[in-house]
Symmetry: C2
Subunit: 374 residues, 2 copies
């Protein structure tokens, strides 16, 4: 059922069949190196989020550049990555249900695996699964530091849960998961800073409270591509989980930096390659990439090389390009690079990265955790 790749190694770009998910290796490698250097310079640990790329090749490259392992969100993602040679994974999310927890516990006998909790009954369930498989699972207490998704409240609630983890026979308390997801795409720099300041205060107070009760937080984890430098300078976070920096998407590029300019610390390296498949009017073209080839939750893709050419809207398999403001002349069969609005759910639509350098296909990397949602 997995599709075969829409290209072959050695092919020139214009022979790649479309839609295809392109990775441009030069900017990808620069992004990987830049983040590794930055985090190392801060004296911190990098554990990039593999939910973005779902690819063991990229995960192993991140580790070769110094990352201590990767994160993922689902047990099935962790399984796919472990089977493809990734030795150290934090599931930065809660895992609920007997079947899933048994898979997690069993996986922890094949690789270093950790998980998050935000519920006392769930702590008992993780412990029972670990006991059944005769293993010890590393556990983070997730604290809600302002994103209002999962997580217990900072302070006493976190302490109470950490004590339960510490008391469980087959669990090892590792520290806090304190990710402020909502701040990542906040456009304004000062607002991002304020959100992360608050998150750092919550995290610090909780770390100190636990310390006074004799519970040491070996790891305080969080941060994303939009805010990583803030957590890095906080003095409280010591493991950073940025993911999207490898690819950068159109939505992250809409963030503003401290000077009010477009956020451009990392380069776009991920593209949906699409073909002009119909030219019904002089001011309108139709490309072969729509809702099944890109995620539109964070807005329209941008067309590389022509800011005046606008992707006006998708249907399931089509995209309408508005050419009314553009001098670019398109012809049937022309191929375009689109920068997806949101990289993570776009990647999850494809089985293969078509990796290009210059105008040639250099590699085909399997997206081993594509569709691994459970």
């Amino acid at each position: 059922m997995a599709t075969r790749p829409p290209a072959e190694i050695g092919m020139p770009l214009d022979e790649i069949d479309t839609p295809a998910l392109l990775v441009d290796l030069d900017p990808l490698e620069r992004n990987l190196e830049l983040m590794a250097t930055n985090v190392e310079a801060c004296g911190l640990r990098l554990r990039p989020h593999a939910k973005t790329h779902k690819c063991a090749v990229i995960a192993r490259r991140q580790m070769a550049l110094g990352a201590v392992g990767v994160c993922c969100q689902k047990v099935s993602e962790a399984e796919a990555l472990v089977h493809a040679g990734v030795p150290d994974i934090v599931v930065s999310n809660e895992v609920v249900g007997r079947r899933k927890l048994e898979r997690l516990a069993a996986l922890s006998k094949q690789a270093q695996v950790a998980v998050c909790v935000d519920n006392a009954a769930n702590v008992g369930d993780v412990d029972a699964a670990a006991a059944k498989f005769g293993t010890v699972v590393d556990v983070f207490v997730e604290v809600n530091v302002g994103a209002n998704r999962c997580g217990v409240a900072p302070g006493e609630a976190a302490l109470s849960l950490a004590k339960r983890v510490d008391a469980a026979g087959h669990l090892r308390f590792v520290g806090l998961q304190a990710y402020q997801g909502r701040a990542q795409h906040t456009r304004d720099f000062d607002q991002r800073c304020a959100a992360i300041d608050a998150a750092c205060t919550y995290a610090r107070q909780t770390v100190e409270l636990l310390q006074r009760s004799g519970l040491e937080c070996e790891v305080v984890a969080g941060a994303g591509t939009g805010t990583w430098a803030l957590e890095a300078n906080s003095g409280v976070y010591n493991e950073l989980q940025a993911g999207s920096y490898v690819f950068m998407d159109a939505d992250y590029a809409r963030n503003k930096n401290a000077d009010g300019d477009r956020f451009a610390e990392f380069e776009h390296s991920l593209f949906v390659f699409a073909t002009v498949m119909s030219m019904p009017e002089p001011t309108r073209a139709v490309v072969d990439a729509g809702l099944k080839s890109m995620s539109f939750d964070s807005g329209m893709p941008e067309v590389v090389g022509s800011e005046s050419m606008r992707y006006a809207g998708p249907s399931d398999e089509h995209g309408n390009l508005d050419l009314s403001q553009s001098n670019t002349r398109l012809r049937l069969g022309d191929k375009l690079r689109l920068i997806p609005g949101h990289c993570d759910p776009t990647v999850n639509l494809y089985d293969w990265y078509v990796c290009v350098r210059g105008d040639r296909v250099e590699a085909l990397w399997p997206i081993v955790a594509r569709g691994a949602v459970w």
Copy 2:
């Protein structure tokens, strides 16, 4: 790389791992039979759109109930379905590019395959590919009957293109593709009728123009779940391409029928099965299904069994449920059925249908054309 199914045959519902894509077989079978009966009663042919379900098991069931074949949108979809035993497929879309056209031509030697054109140069390319493989490909001229996506203008432009097809050595002119996609989700019944009236006029005038030039339209194809009865009664369409009726999604249910009531001709048979994975506040729960488990282009999913429980918004792997207006008490681990906003791109996220009858898993059907976008 394909994922294994999140359930086993014989399992009770509450053991299915989540997120899972459930098909409830009783309403599915009623939908399949109802549309087959309806179209047969009109004396027309049904060629359901397989871009909705991407599943050869369902396609063959549709044919067993009288459908003449299925449609799909992409060559790779057609390949997957042919390989899984579907003998007759119309690619109701343009195919552009040498590699794709050669795959299409080659496939036409394994099964009955047709394609659409809306461009004179492309007619030559389809013909060349067919010639290379020593085959004859059936061709529809796509006419823009108001959807403003692909297609030539009705009338002279369509005639000119049909003549080119007819003159080509390795093509057979079959008729018109005249789908009014935009009308399908128009909420108001009278507005839907007006759009289809206009489409029928365009199609009829074009058929008559071609007839006067000696070109007979054996097939006039179009229609979708939102308007099928209108095309069926037009006297001009003779092959109907509805797809979503098999599943019905939340967006189609928001259409109004002639009495102004909710469109309820077909039943919801497709659900995303999700687990409550966090209960951070009394009025808020988090489920394990977000942007990677459902498409949100047509709005939020609906929660089955509790209209007061509202799916407030997704992130990549999570969904926030707003319980503030609900008396339903949720517990960690509870499983819920969600009706996706838009079935087609939701199906494209999964490798397996978990088919249930009553409270038990009865079948696991592979979604063979999942990810087949090229």
